[in-house]
Symmetry: C2
């Protein structure tokens, strides 16, 4: 029998380059911050051409998302299959609250990268992690209140957690994370 691995696997040189690029990008971010993350710089540091970056990651925000991805997976599995109140087991209202609080923390944690990714292409987040958040939250809303328009309501609860808004309030207006969270609670009449 023929050894059927995945139909189309990434070539080994391609995989090696992806790793080199991600390592170089992470290094640059940790030293020079997100502003220092220029495509030509990353390419040079990784020892590849810029074309290679674009084939692998699409564009600048794609590279940022790849950098974010690892922690993203952890977060997703926490609210899908982790322990309550974030994961299954608690009542819907508690899970909604726990989810929004956790997402706030998670966004603040990688604020700079998210901000850059969001700015570079405002729709990138939709279709990426955003859709997962949205699906999860609208499911919970539907459980908590079957009469609500869960689909749009989920959008509107997620919107205040956009990186650009959080960055502005936290950094320019001196609002604390706890205050953001408790205001979020006031927005939640769902029971």
């Amino acid at each position: 029998m023929e050894a059927v691995t995945n139909p189309r696997r990434e070539r080994v040189d391609a995989a090696r380059n992806r790793a080199k690029i991600l390592a170089a990008a992470a290094e640059i971010v940790s030293v020079h911050g997100v502003e220092g993350l220029a495509m030509a710089e990353v390419a040079a540091a990784a020892g590849v051409g810029v074309g290679t970056l674009y084939r692998r990651f699409g564009d600048r925000s794609g590279l940022a998302y790849a950098l974010i991805d690892e922690r993203e997976r952890e977060f997703q599995s926490a609210f899908i299959q982790g322990p309550p109140p974030l994961g299954p087991g608690a009542d819907p209202a508690s899970r909604i609250r726990a989810f929004l609080h956790a997402l706030t923390d998670r966004t603040v944690e990688q604020l700079d990268l998210l901000l850059m990714a969001e700015t570079a292409s405002p729709f990138a987040r939709f279709g990426g992690a955003y859709d997962g958040y949205h699906a999860h939250l609208s499911m919970l809303i539907g459980q908590a209140d079957p009469t609500a328009d869960a689909y749009v309501l989920a959008d509107q609860l997620l919107a205040p957690l956009a990186a650009s808004l959080l960055a502005h309030r936290l950094r320019t207006c001196g609002v604390t994370v706890d205050r953001v969270k408790s205001a979020l609670d006031q927005l939640l009449p769902l029971r």
Copy 2:
């Protein structure tokens, strides 16, 4: 007596150029859409150098805001001093609802320009029109419910009306404006 006009008036050539630039920009947008609004194009069409655009409008998003500005003034005066329920006279809860609905319409109306301005510099809206919206809304919230954290709550009610989110839902997901508005109402337990 000396004719004291404003201490520092715009020079006549500068005013003429501003008008030419705005006319050219409006023309370009109406023909080629917002994507066609390139700084060099506008400069050429207006018969000025690019440097002149930057002195007048700061950057690309500044030009977009100037294009938006006229309608913006109308809207601001409508909710500050116009007839109720948008203007003064109605109860706070009604004014909040009317304001959010009107802002939705107003955003949808110039969605492309707002989207561009927002994308070019995510903080531009803060400090521009956004602060006016925020001040107005947090005042109304304070009247409706003195125990609420009006400041942050106002942010969170404004966030779902970001141009990027509206554009995504309206254009990619087939959600209607009316549905957005009625979901907004579900978010308003304030009375």
